[in-house]
């Protein structure tokens, strides 16, 4: 037996791969296939599935109601990603260009808020954003800056704010990693060749930081699209995202097949969006270099 293993590199490779394959199979592929199968079945009255094949769940996914919520969720996720990029890029650049010692303290400062549980931090925003008793509105009203409380809570603004706050470090860290490795002599070379500040950024920094930007955008976009805690709390249970509808199918509506169908749609959309994004960025990167 041992001799066989020693002689055959293929078998050896398989033995080494086995734990990873088993892991992927048990925790990724198998659940995915179960979700896929469930999405074609009928619901049990109080949860579970009835083994009766149907396409009804996929027809319902395209009902105007759910589809509108889906497109709204995409809009919220895109807005969150763009805002994170606009805020995160300069932050990452600033940190990456400081001396080593300060850099570490700044990174630490970025991470400290995230030692607190996400749920608690989201609830903390409630204290600030509440319409009539929130700190922001109370302060502005008492200073006479506004007459009517601002609609800060229970709408898309609150949700996007909460998501940007929650996922900003996921944008900053990969961009920082890309910028930190950037060879400073390249910038000097560009300046020597009479490139202005904008041109240095556009033709040297930006293309070289693209891998970080892509990774960061994915890390922000994917969880934002599927978010359900932030909209549930900051949306006041009134403004829903697709994640809320999916979780509602399992946690309240007892409709596992429909929840599965919505999840499949979301996964397919994310896959397609990711591929398009990668392709676009590759072209951009090629042109920039």
């Amino acid at each position: 037996m041992q001799a066989i293993i020693r002689r055959s590199p293929a078998i050896r490779a398989w033995i080494l791969l086995a734990p990873a394959v088993a892991w992927l199979f048990i925790f990724f592929l198998a659940p995915l296939v179960i979700v896929l199968i469930y999405s074609f079945l009928e619901r049990g009255t109080y949860g579970g599935v009835v083994w009766q094949p149907t396409l009804e769940n996929y027809r319902r996914v395209f009902d105007a109601l759910y589809f509108n919520t889906f497109t709204r969720s995409v809009y919220i996720a895109v807005a969150t990603t763009v805002i994170c990029l606009i805020l995160g890029f300069p932050m990452a650049y600033f940190i990456a260009t400081r001396p080593q010692k300060i850099r570490n303290s700044l990174l630490l400062a970025l991470m400290i808020p995230f030692w607190t549980n996400f749920l608690i931090r989201t609830y903390a925003w409630l204290t600030l954003l509440r319409t009539n008793t929130g700190l922001i509105n109370v302060t502005l009203l008492s200073l006479g800056i506004i007459d009517e409380p601002l609609p800060l809570f229970g709408n898309d603004f609150a949700i996007i704010l909460g998501l940007v706050y929650g996922w900003l470090p996921d944008m900053v860290l990969p961009v920082y990693a890309a910028l930190e490795r950037l060879d400073r002599s390249l910038l000097e070379a560009a300046q020597d060749l009479y490139a202005g500040r904008w041109q240095v950024f556009r033709r040297v920094i930006w293309p070289l930081s693209l891998p970080g930007v892509v990774a960061g955008s994915m890390l922000v976009f994917i969880p934002s699209l599927g978010a359900f805690v932030t909209p549930a709390i900051l949306g006041g249970g009134k403004s829903l995202m697709i994640g809320n509808i999916i979780s509602n199918q399992f946690l309240a509506a007892h409709d596992w097949p429909f929840g599965s169908a919505l999840s499949m749609l979301m996964m397919v959309f994310m896959l397609v969006a990711t591929l398009i994004y990668f392709r676009a960025v590759n072209r951009e990167g090629g042109a920039g270099l």
Partner: protein, 382 residues
């Protein structure tokens, strides 16, 4: 390429095995419905002294939030050495979905009347061993034979109450009709400052009552009307909230809320302007019950029955009502609660109000229609 193909076949094989495991898991869930019977067998042998079941030393109670005085757990632990850990849910549907999804480890749950019927039918509840609950005799007669569980076979009533409107007295006029929520005046001071329960059956009940329909209707047309009403009302709504509606009223963030009477009465301690009323069209009446899921082990079940018995003690029953301000089904506790509590119309609605209250009942297959329309309400952007 051949290797890849063989890899695929291996994966598919494993997949099929996995699925077989899944389906057999489903079957074992079905056989669990027989657990109550086998539990009885265990307690029978216990009485003959063959195998004595020792109560578990720690059990989990799955309850609504802020529904029990934590002091009761401490007293119970001092008396029996059994520790009770609490986990919370905020709607019957949430609790049911979690248990249906295969959650185990809960020894005590607190479903409302209509959910007891559903769980009984689905075989999710264990039969109570009355020998372990001698205090059952403390229940008032009305609650010894509730329609959803005659003879307290599966459940013991925990507390009962009503669903109506809580408001800040002095800030808004006493709401006499559900129209304050369903036909709000955009210029009224309370516009945008009220919440509705995040609960499919409760919110539909409010709309159906306002429309004059049966709250358990299975007429799709009536339900569509109720849905459209709920969507229209969304424009003036601060949000859907089942957990903190009373706190938001106490903090004066909101001035009106659709909710459960006891929650408002407890919040009165923080803000004495809070008042509770049931509009002229009527409201919902409900009974919450302590039950034991069929998945509880014999040891957990015994400990749970000991706790149910403890809850039925007159002193503990009174403690419960003094904490959550809901009416007690415990006749023996009434002497301790005193006349002031027993005559509070917000706790014990007078006969003429009671006539206008309806119980939510299970609607079977039609539940999916309620759920779909509730999805539509929650997703709509008015």
């Amino acid at each position: 390429m051949k290797k890849f193909a063989s890899l695929c076949t291996t994966l598919m094989l494993l997949l099929v095995l996995g699925l077989v495991a899944c389906t057999s898991g489903g079957e074992s869930a079905e056989t669990e419905t027989e657990v109550p019977a086998s539990n009885e067998a265990v307690t029978e042998t216990e009485s003959t002294g063959e195998t004595a079941v020792e109560p578990a030393t720690e059990i989990v109670m799955y309850n609504w939030s802020e529904y029990i005085d934590p002091e009761i757990y401490t007293l119970f632990e001092q008396e029996t050495g059994i520790r009770i850990v609490e986990d919370n849910f905020s709607s019957n549907e949430e609790m049911l979905a979690k248990l249906q999804g295969g959650a185990t480890g809960y020894a005590l749950i607190v479903p409302s009347d209509y959910t007891v019927s559903i769980m009984k039918e689905e075989g999710m509840l264990a039969k109570l061993d009355h020998a372990n609950i001698p205090n059952l005799s403390n229940l008032s007669d009305e609650f010894k034979n509730v329609p959803f569980d005659p003879g307290n076979e599966y459940c013991v009533p925990y507390q009962w109450g009503t669903t109506g409107i809580g408001y800040l007295d002095g800030v808004v006029e006493t709401p006499t009709s559900w129209s304050v929520i369903f036909e709000p005046d955009p210029n009224a001071p309370y516009y945008g400052r009220y919440t509705m329960l995040d609960d499919v059956r409760e919110s539909f009940a409010a709309a159906l009552i306002y429309l004059g329909y049966d709250i358990n209707t299975t007429d799709e047309k009536q339900l569509e009307e109720a849905r459209d009403l709920l969507i229209k009302a969304k424009a003036g709504l601060a949000g859907y909230d089942s957990d903190t509606f009373e706190d938001l009223l106490a903090a004066e963030e909101n001035v009106l809320a659709h909710g459960w009477n006891g929650d408002f009465l407890v919040a009165q301690e923080e803000n004495e302007n809070i008042a509770y009323t049931i509009p002229q069209e009527g409201g919902v009446i409900w009974v919450d019950n302590v039950c034991i899921p069929a998945t509880a082990s014999p040891e957990e079940k015994l400990a749970a029955e000991m706790f149910i018995n403890f809850l039925l003690d007159p002193e503990i029953g009174a403690m419960l009502s003094e904490f959550n301000y809901y009416a007690s089904p415990n006749k023996a506790a009434e002497d301790i609660l005193g006349e002031e509590f027993l005559s509070d119309p917000a706790v014990y609605p007078p006969a003429e109000v009671r006539e206008r209250l309806q119980f939510i009942k299970p609607v079977g297959e039609f539940e999916s229609v309620y759920q779909r329309m509730w999805d539509e309400v929650k997703s709509a952007n008015p």
